[in-house]
Amino acid sequence: MSTRPLVEYESVDKYFGETHVLREVDLAVEEQEVVVVVGPSGSGKSTLLRCANRLEEIQGGEIRIAGDPISGPDASVNRLRQQVGMVFQSFNLFPHMTATENVAVGPRKVKGVPESEATERADDLLDRVGLGDQTESYPAELSGGQQQRVAIARALAMDPHVMLFDEVTSALDPELVGEVLGVMKDLATEGMTMLTVTHEMGFAREVGDRIVLMSDGEVIEQGPPESFFEAPETERGERFLERLL
């Protein structure tokens, strides 16, 4: 292999108390690859993502980003998180800041970018997600779909190596899902490395380079979308797809 994967999970174990939520998970995301994690509720998909920027700590194994272990003596959690953009199901925009301020606050406070520069860049990013006319709006004045697009712009503002999308359309009204998936699709086209948890199988099939099926904290199977959706290799994969129809 010429280049190392950008994100590597190596036999990762994660417990919540007695519950074993990730069981020796191995997963690699190559640069510019879009990996879509699917699976039934409670299968550990979100936890898998949250471990990659240490919102959850793992109890066994190792996760590496660009070759560097994310936990351990030399690791800095704040530096790690600058390299990993995270978008949440519930948006989590800062309600006391305008759209521009939401996007600019990370670069300003974490990277020390001057306010005028950060603001200009924020407005560019908002324009890129189709919200160039809403820069002065507060989150409460925006629809769910618009809020989620601001959240994507906020994560992009830190120039991350990889973006994590944690069921980002699950809290949206059906008619607003499309605009958010559209932004994600554009990102994928531009070559962003993405690790995505979603229930949107249409998106998984169209945009995903690889589908990963999780169940009970384990990776059951993975492969390109065509083969996964047409002919899953495992019986659990078949059952998962049957339930979707």
Binding site: L55, F88, H96, Y138, P139, A140, A155
Partner: protein, 275 residues
């Protein structure tokens, strides 16, 4: 809900006790009666008890002095207790056990014992650390009052801040940390501004109580408003004239204070109010 059960213009069967219409009538009647009672009571007292010429004369100079003393004590204790309260509140939510424990003990003590007791302990306790006659502050009553009010109200404000922080969804901290902010940065930029907004009403409430708590300072021989009432009462055997002044002077502080807090609330509200 059950529109089909009634024809047009039919009244739904009224409940035996309350319906909206009756509730409204009761509300109006009660408020009118209440207003009449208060106005009547005050009117009779003003008409029969308050001597108009003395009402004007006694304002100077005792009440002015008392008012200014109270205003000064309130201004200083107010600022200090908000600062102290933020520190206590942050200690209360700290992830470090000793810090959290100390903040909790502080709140339990200062909220759990009477302010009067705390004032006496401070007033006679702090000078006891010096040899008799060596205490450097000649008149310790106003400083002791400020210390007591500050320590006491920091406890209440600390609880308000804690509640305000806990009302901020966990996702806010997660989102801020996910951008690479440190815990302190996330608190300062994201959580505390929202917690402050959540806590403002409770803090304003507490500050109004602080104003009224100055009436206890007579035990420290602070020449405050109520002791002035008593002085004038014992000199003139007139209670109603000075007590009316006392009411006016307290309201002269508390009403603008309430307005100021509402202004702060409006300003802290991201989508409305002045900015």
């Amino acid at each position: 809900m059950s529109e089909t059960q009634y024809g047009r213009g039919d009244e739904p069967p009224s409940s035996p006790f309350l319906n909206d219409h009756r509730l409204k009538i009761i509300g109006i009647t009660a408020s009118v009666l209440f207003t009449l009672a208060v106005v009547g009571f005050l009117g009779v007292i003003l008409y029969t008890q308050v001597n108009p010429s003395r009402f004007v004369n006694i304002i100077h100079p005792q009440f002015i002095d008392a008012f200014l003393v109270v205003l000064r004590i309130v201004a200083i204790s107010s600022v200090l207790s908000v600062i102290g309260g933020v520190l206590v509140g942050l200690g209360r939510i700290s992830e470090t056990l000793p810090t959290r424990g100390i903040a909790k003990g502080y709140i339990e003590f200062f909220r759990g014992t009477p302010l009067l007791f705390q004032l006496i302990v401070i007033y006679s306790g702090i000078p006891a650390f010096w040899p008799p006659g060596q205490f450097p502050i000649a008149n310790f009553s106003v400083p002791a009052a400020i210390i007591g009010l500050t320590l006491n109200h920091s406890a209440y404000i600390g609880e308000a801040i804690r509640g305000g922080v806990e009302a901020v969804p966990d996702g806010q901290m997660e989102a801020a940390r996910s951008l690479g902010m440190s815990y302190a940065q996330a608190m300062r930029e994201v959580v505390l501004p929202q917690a402050w907004r959540n806590a403002l009403a409770a803090i304003g409430n507490d500050q109004v109580i602080l104003v009224k708590d100055t009436s206890l300072l007579s035990v420290l021989a602070v020449p405050e408003i109520i002791s002035t009432v008593q002085n004038i009462n014992s000199a003139t055997f007139d209670i109603w004239t000075p007590i009316l002044w006392a009411a006016i002077l307290y309201l002269a502080i508390t009403v603008p204070l309430g307005k100021f807090v509402r202004y702060l609330e409006a300003r802290a509200d991201p989508t409305g109010g002045p900015r």
